[in-house]
């Protein structure tokens, strides 16, 4: 089995049955996973912030939900992905309840869903919010997408 790590502000795809895509250490960030059961193409994008408004130059579109999601979906299509046969899940978006200045997690969840809705897409399952760090992985072999919080059982999304 080959583990493909998807780090901050990265996106990765695979259709090799040996591969597992994995996004570790999701705090307020969101990992959005997609899997097409007809082609076995899977992908993860690791979004850090909701909006690219704060960065005038667009050197790093994958960091943001509003610019990263369109790029990710375009790449998925170019690699042969079929939206009609895919499932989309998200995990992450943790927040610090003690101070609203740091509630980037909630904003990230909303921004990711908004970006998807522009393409008439929505998430079929999610493990978001709270204050836990998470890991999300996609097994290309069977399309199983699992979210994991330390010390808790795995959750199949």
């Amino acid at each position: 089995m080959t583990e493909i790590k998807v780090k901050l502000a990265e996106m990765r795809f695979s259709n090799k049955s040996d591969d597992t895509l994995i996004a570790h250490g999701l705090g307020a960030c969101i990992a959005l996973a997609i899997f097409d059961r007809t082609t076995s193409l899977g992908g993860i994008i690791h979004i850090v912030m909701p909006s690219s408004d704060i960065q005038s130059r667009s050197d790093h579109p994958i960091r943001f939900a509003d610019t990263g999601i369109p790029l990710f979906l375009k790449e998925f299509m170019q690699q042969g992905g079929n939206f009609a046969a895919c499932k989309i899940v998200i995990a992450g978006g943790a927040s610090m309840p003690s101070n609203s200045m740091f509630n980037i997690g909630d904003q990230n969840v909303a921004a990711v869903k908004k970006a998807l809705s522009r393409f008439n897409l929505s998430v079929s399952a999610e493990d978001v919010g709270g204050n836990n760090g998470r890991t999300l992985n996609v097994s290309i072999k069977n399309g199983v997408i699992v979210s994991k919080v330390f010390g808790c059982p795995e959750r199949v999304l």
């Binding site: 705090g27 309840p97 200045m101 740091f102």
Partner: protein, 289 residues
């Protein structure tokens, strides 16, 4: 403060010199730099006598943060260009990288995550220091790098007790350092402070490491504790090296006020941290693997 009768604390503190020794070269550099009249050559001689340490200090001196247009090739040149306080911080930074890189995986700590988190916090602390025109940004970088060094010791030397801390923390409702205080009677900041004391580091470093989760309890004159407190929180939110832990931490209003931070600054800082993480060459040059 730790109860003076806390046996676990005394046992750990008595073991620190053995568990986390400071190499002789750095001990000499720290001691020489305490006297402002020490000739620069004396410091160069000490560092040059330790080839491995000299090469690490040169790597740091040539990192983009210092922005020299020509490569700094010798220790004596580095000492002249940077002054001996910076050289002292660099020696300590180089050593701290190796301490973190030699951390053992444990029940709680994942070595890679610990390294990433400490490195990210160091970069973020320095960003906040530079933003505040703080005179000694390198020292704040070092504090960021060392802020969780107490966890490394607890993970190795008090594993059974540390496991109980994690079980309590996993029940929810309290921050990690609060669970430590409930179970152990002290938190990892106290152990980190004890390490810094054994290493003869400055009072500000000791105070910041001790209070990075409770900056209200730090000395009023200590601004660096607020930088490391906020840096740690931002890096945690970003999920950088959070490993097994969560993001639930108490944010000090005093720190936000002291650093004059507004909501929009947090997003900008996150972007700057990402830029630094992508561009900083220190991580790749200092890690063994």
């Amino acid at each position: 403060m730790v109860d003076k009768d806390n046996l676990l604390y005394s046992r750990i503190v008595n073991k620190i010199t053995e568990l986390m020794p400071l190499p002789e070269t750095i001990q000499k550099v720290v001691s020489l730099t305490r006297n402002p009249d020490t000739p620069l050559k004396k410091i160069s001689d000490v560092l040059e006598s330790d080839e491995a340490m000299a090469s690490k200090v040169l790597k740091l001196a040539n990192s983009s943060f210092y922005g020299f247009s020509k490569q700094v090739k010798t220790i004596s040149h580095a000492v002249v260009c940077l002054g001996f306080n910076t050289i002292k911080q660099m020696s300590l930074t180089a050593h701290s990288f190796s301490v973190l890189d030699n951390t053992l995986d444990g029940y709680y700590l994942d070595k890679g995550a610990m390294f990433q988190h400490s490195f990210g916090t160091a970069l973020a602390s320095r960003l906040l220091a530079t933003r505040m025109f703080y005179p000694n940004a390198e020292e704040v970088y070092l504090m960021g790098l060392l802020h969780d060094v107490g966890k490394v010791i607890l993970n190795q030397y008090a594993e059974a007790e540390f496991k109980k801390v994690i079980e309590l923390y996993n029940q929810g409702g309290r921050a990690f350092h609060e669970a430590e205080r409930e179970i152990l009677g002290f938190d990892h900041g106290e152990i980190g402070a004890a390490v810094c004391q054994k290493w003869n580091l400055s009072d500000d470093i000791v105070d910041t490491i001790r209070n990075h989760h409770s900056p209200e309890e730090a000395l009023d004159t200590n601004l660096s504790v607020h930088m490391v407190h906020i840096a740690n929180i931002i890096v945690t939110i970003m999920g950088i090296g959070i490993g097994a832990g969560g993001v639930d931490q108490k944010i000090s209003e005093k720190s936000l006020t002291s650093l004059r931070l507004k909501e929009e600054d947090i997003s900008m800082l996150m972007m700057s941290i990402m830029d630094e993480l992508e561009n900083d060459e220190t991580l790749t040059s200092f890690r063994n693997k």
